[in-house]
Symmetry: C2
Amino acid sequence: MIQERLRLLRQKMKESGVTVYVIPSSDCHESEYVCGHYRARAYITGFTGSAGTAVVTLEDAGLWTDGRYFIQAELELRDTGIRLFRTGEPGVPNVETYVKEHLEKGGRLGFDGKVMGAFRAEALIKAAEEKKAGVLATEDLVGAIWEDRPEIPDAPVFILESNYCGESVKRKLMRVREKLEELEADIHVVASLCDIAWILNIRGGDIPGVPVTLSYLCITKNTCTWYVRSSVITEEIRSYLSENKIQVKEYEAVYEDLTKLGPGLNVLMDKRKVNHRLLTSIPQGARLIDKSNPSELMKAVKNETELKNLRIAHLKESIAFTRLMYWVKTNVRKQEITELSVSEYLNERRKEQAHYLGESFSPICAYGPNAAIVHYSADKRSNAVIEAKGFLLVDAGGHYLEGTTDTTRTFALGELTEEQKRMFTAVCRANLNLANARFLYGCTGYTLDVLCREPLWQFGMDYKHGTGHGVGYLLNVHEGPNAFRWKMPEDERAAVLEAGMVTTDEPGIYVEGEYGIRTENELVCVKGTENEYGQFMEFEIVTLVPIDLDGIVPEEMTLTERNYLNDYHQRVYHTLAPYLSGEEREWLKVSTRAV
Amino acid sequence: MIQERLRLLRQKMKESGVTVYVIPSSDCHESEYVCGHYRARAYITGFTGSAGTAVVTLEDAGLWTDGRYFIQAELELRDTGIRLFRTGEPGVPNVETYVKEHLEKGGRLGFDGKVMGAFRAEALIKAAEEKKAGVLATEDLVGAIWEDRPEIPDAPVFILESNYCGESVKRKLMRVREKLEELEADIHVVASLCDIAWILNIRGGDIPGVPVTLSYLCITKNTCTWYVRSSVITEEIRSYLSENKIQVKEYEAVYEDLTKLGPGLNVLMDKRKVNHRLLTSIPQGARLIDKSNPSELMKAVKNETELKNLRIAHLKESIAFTRLMYWVKTNVRKQEITELSVSEYLNERRKEQAHYLGESFSPICAYGPNAAIVHYSADKRSNAVIEAKGFLLVDAGGHYLEGTTDTTRTFALGELTEEQKRMFTAVCRANLNLANARFLYGCTGYTLDVLCREPLWQFGMDYKHGTGHGVGYLLNVHEGPNAFRWKMPEDERAAVLEAGMVTTDEPGIYVEGEYGIRTENELVCVKGTENEYGQFMEFEIVTLVPIDLDGIVPEEMTLTERNYLNDYHQRVYHTLAPYLSGEEREWLKVSTRAV
């Protein structure tokens, strides 16, 4: 099937003189997750992970993805003839290098400029220019061969009331405009859907797991224009927008409007957050200010209302998750439980909670060797039956009106090897050491990452993914600019950890073909003491689910680490107990005992 | 005295129309330490620290220095009328901002371009231009009023034999030239004295503590020209240079030679390592390649010969230091010991070792409250008598033919408070946690720094200096690009820790008016296991001096930390015991017992 699609694509390439065609994973908004309509890269390669780029030449085809997806990509690319390029591994060329190597003088590079990020497009075009090859950036060649392509959705939108968002659109626009003035920008073009949803206090449902609506936003000193499909604008929304002096225009009209910008205007646009077509719609006479969207940092720092709500959302999620843990651990020997039924059970428990809106990402319920696939997603074919031994890894999250959650626990389901216990304990130590960090204001996620990795590095182990990512408020579960990482990319500056930022803490250990362990909590950065040395900062752990003591070897932990675990478990017990049934509560008491 | 000097300087400023005059701490080579001739900043302000900048206006005067020197600068500036600006503290303007604020249209900025770094000069000139003020960068106004200014020295130079340097000048030049080719540079101008000494395998003695000779080096594909005072060139040196095809020219001739460079030439020059005059001597037609000196990274990565020697140098230094520790601790109640007599005793013990060449920096022997001054230097006035209580901090180092050392130990001399013991233990834990780090290749000093600070941050404490610096081989005890730091400057990229790099590990705690604690070892970065996760790296501790167990509270340490300490002490005992007297050996045995 994949080979047939590649054949058809190559035919289209030949028809338009394209010799190298690049297919990214994005939609027109540089979204991480995309709706079915934009899954061109998955359609052409069969690789379904969220991150990856395909390059097709007339003879060769390659897929680039990162460490989270190596195992999955290997499986999904089997028999397609598409080569896997493991990004970040020694000796693996990046996409630009490969493109350059495969473009010849007189050849032609092709990509769909609307789904190609402006920043990446520049690098590709530069590669083409260096090889004296042409560029065709306007054709969606995969679209041209795609039968039964899903439609672009137009899910209904709704207003996020002030008791949930905590700041009015008027005030948010005022803050963005202050920043525009500081940067001397005349107009600010926002394509990132989460930024738009945050600024407008409006949510939608166009992307599975991400409650946003496909649209663009242009902000000037006096105007704010929302480019959105009119089909989603109800009377209520219309009057809300007009109240807030927000003009509405058709979704696609933004491209033409940009071409009409007068000369000498300063346009603030983040090259990493807009597509190539949008960037190149700006007329020559205008000056680009290529800086982060001001809303990126603003939305990462949660306000008091959001933080208060987040604690409620996490309480709800933690109750559901803990009940799942109880159910799986007590029933694994009694009834057939599968990866899919675990996801289902968790979702049922969530639905019992008020204001639950749906999953914040496709859950990872992975038993045994499946858990070694970092971003595994169970389907009917792979769906494993869970046995009373080894580990079950559950990484899942929900959207509530009170915020978005992301939790991972690994359940010990009976017999474990000494090695497995030692590794489970190491992951727990890694997680708790980071969560209990105390640090001076000014630290970034790069400063602190080693606190999490060191317990694993001491064993000569590592996990090939970041230690943690920011989390949106009823938005994308992956949000910048805060993150925990150890290796800083050449072209990035790290974001200082600010009070109010929410970041996950999710170390893991993966042994291919055997097992996977990950323990993930969400951490809210809060202010600690201020003294002569400066402002100290700390984390508040908002996820409250037991860490399975059946996997813990207390002798492998320092006294401090044991105290961290015991203190956390005390909080878990006292917070959740009132919401559980008698049996569940009894079980929780034992499961959160001091070690 | 200082006020009189300021008055005379202001007179000179008026004569040349200068309204704001900036005096850096450097010589013509951007050296950190300088010979007496170049201590203009100390002459004009009275502040004797190694780092600091003075700015004098017609009405005001300020001195900028960093956290290491806050207490010392405060003391030394008392009654001078010069205001202290604490670099890095909140709300403190930097030099450029201050200069801009105090320059008026029609005013004139002045500095001596030969001792002002090219990079800083640019920022200052930009500030002046923004205020439409003039610039006078050619006059040494402090020199004009300086009576009895010390002469520029011309200490003898010597060749560092291959059994010490491990790589011939021919091979070093070849490697530098390879880099020039890679960067497409036609000529490389080196002003940094340590780089020159390293490339040429020649040492001198023009700067106290830094065995280098004042000179410049110009390298092209086929030539190598050393601009150096002919007075230091002996027959032996001359024939060594000629053997290696190195041409000699007069020291100051470099400036004129640069002005004669043909147009279209690519000149590799590190703006942060050359003075303003040198940079501006390059003709308009040439293209500047502003990158690090290739020799900077090369000399930071010690070769096998250097590493073998370094272990010998550290053994010698550790014997001397340990004997000092024995002597102070056993005699403090019996005889009068002062800060100065401690330095002297240490130096006497060093002189008993072969190939000892002198101190690698002015030793810090600081008793009681004096130790809270991070870079304290005892003189006859301050020289404290050491009592049988509290802490004595000794930070000292030596140059041997086998390399340069830098060690700090804090001796407990009797009664300590609980608080003092807890802090001493925390510093020890901080030091050992970093030294025992295991990490993936690709980490920098920024990645790992928190391992050292976290034990102190947990107590709400910090030290206002870097955790560690690179160490030269019979060169400057402070060497880049490797370092342990937590806060990355805006304009810097961190250096990856390479096998063979030597970095100090020196956390501390300073309580103003009470005491100071610091424990410093030198760490050699070495390769560990290589596996599917990558290349693991580790440190070898080369400093082998007991950490005073009288200050240690074992209960405050994790079992792992206690093992780190006990393992280290076992190495200390077994390595040093053969070189000690019977009494010393007995004492060492007890002092390195397991806790």
